[in-house]
């Protein structure tokens, strides 16, 4: 048994018994780790404040290779992403990023790039204010796909190699890219407008805070959501749509009494 110390983001948390809590975290140095915080829910717990999803924390745990659940010894809160409290859209998009990593990353595969991407995404969502927070999440999805080794080709036709221009193309999730208008007519796929491709292409190199400045049309928004959904279903096992996104889209479609406006900081007296 060794004592390991690293930084991590809490992906998911469950209650265990009367007072303890189980955490699934994505750590900077050891990938996805499952930890038990004994007595973590009591008022006097030394872990208090560190056991909530979205929090960036330091962890010190006793690692024993023969067990799946490691014992958390110490934890400190680095960033709770406090501005997300009361921001429904930001919170749900942050949870969707956590859910994607929780479901797509199988074991303790270390990836500092994924950790840094998650960390900067949560910080950006926390600071997005009234911006287009979903742009930050799309940027996260684009880069996460790439880091997982499933980078699609956004800019050239998979069949003839011609550059995809303003006329858009046909997205084929199983082939990992797009077909131009002439190749796609016979082979089919999800019809995608040129503006949508411009956004996806731009997101690959965009700084994280710039992504919140996007102003997509409703059509572009719908196409990008559909493309990512299809892509994850085809390429990453176990992902049949993210629950967090279903929640977000459900809120939007209901859209009663303006519950879910673009900027959703809620004031409670």
């Amino acid at each position: 048994m060794v004592i390991l110390k690293t930084e991590a983001v809490v992906l998911k948390a469950w209650n265990l018994g009367e007072t303890s809590r189980i955490l699934s975290v994505y750590s900077r140095d050891h990938g996805k780790v499952k930890l038990v915080a004994k007595g973590g829910r009591t008022l006097k717990s030394k872990f208090r404040g560190c056991l909530e999803p979205l929090s960036r924390i330091t962890i010190e745990y006793y690692d024993k290779r023969t067990r799946d659940l490691q014992l958390l010894g110490r934890s400190d809160l680095l960033d709770p992403h406090m501005k997300l409290i009361g921001d429904m859209r930001g919170t749900v998009l942050g949870l969707a990023a956590l859910e994607l990593i929780y479901r797509a990353v199988a074991g303790e595969e270390r990836s500092v790039e994924i950790y840094d991407l998650l960390s900067e995404t949560l910080s950006a969502l926390n600071g997005a204010g009234g911006g287009f927070a979903e742009g930050i999440f799309w940027r996260f999805e684009t880069r996460f796909i790439s880091l997982m080794g499933y980078q699609p080709t956004w800019d050239n036709c998979l069949s003839c190699g011609s550059s995809l221009g303003k006329e858009g193309g046909f997205f084929q999730a199983s082939s990992g890219g797009l077909l131009c208008a002439s190749c796609g007519v016979s082979r089919g796929g999800l019809v995608v407008a040129g503006g949508t491709l411009d956004i996806l292409y731009w997101l690959q190199g965009a700084p994280v805070f710039e992504a919140a400045k996007l102003e997509p049309t409703d059509g572009e928004k719908a196409e990008i959501r559909k493309m990512f959904d299809l892509y994850f279903k085809v390429h990453i096992e176990h992902i049949q749509g993210l629950e967090s996104l279903k929640f977000l889209y459900g809120m939007e479609s209901t859209n009663r009494q303006g519950i879910f406006p673009a900027s959703s900081n809620t004031e409670i007296h």
Partner: protein, 200 residues
Amino acid sequence: MEYSSRTLESLIEALCGLPGIGTKSAQRIALHLVQGGKNEAEHLARSIMDLHDKVSSCSVCFNLTEDDPCAICRDPKRDESRICVLEEPKDLMAVERTGIYNGKYHVLGGVLSPLDGVGESHLHIQELMKRIHPGISEIIIATNPTVEGELTASYLARLLKPMAVRVTRIARGIPYGGSLEFNDMVTLSKAMEGRLEVDS
């Protein structure tokens, strides 16, 4: 077989399924019941059976009750203009123990949880909306201060805002008997934000 009696073994297994009871505790309880009087075992068995026959959810506030509506909903002395919204009946019991709140309650039956696919339709949110009328002056949201509890609070606040009712959230702060240096930054920040005037 670890135990000399199948009945004893079956009881220990059943007790082990209860929250907070491990094998050793289950064994201790089972042996206590065997060695104790028959009356005690019968009383316990009858009480457990009565739970399902008599206890159900109040159709108004969704607290656990034997009579519908529950005693709190029927009580004319309680302030009908205030409703405190909670996650579970155990939270209601905790607030009632304080003896400081004299309004009515509404138990949601959980919290919104995007990660687990728990949405509005899984909770008693629509029933809460139906309880809002011009006589209601304040809705106190007392969900737990967790990510999901805060999300639920924001969601409810947005739903209630157009109904011209005052929506408040329970305060977050330093626990009594605690010390500042050992508090996490969220608690401390919220405690600073929610500071109150000191009466002289």
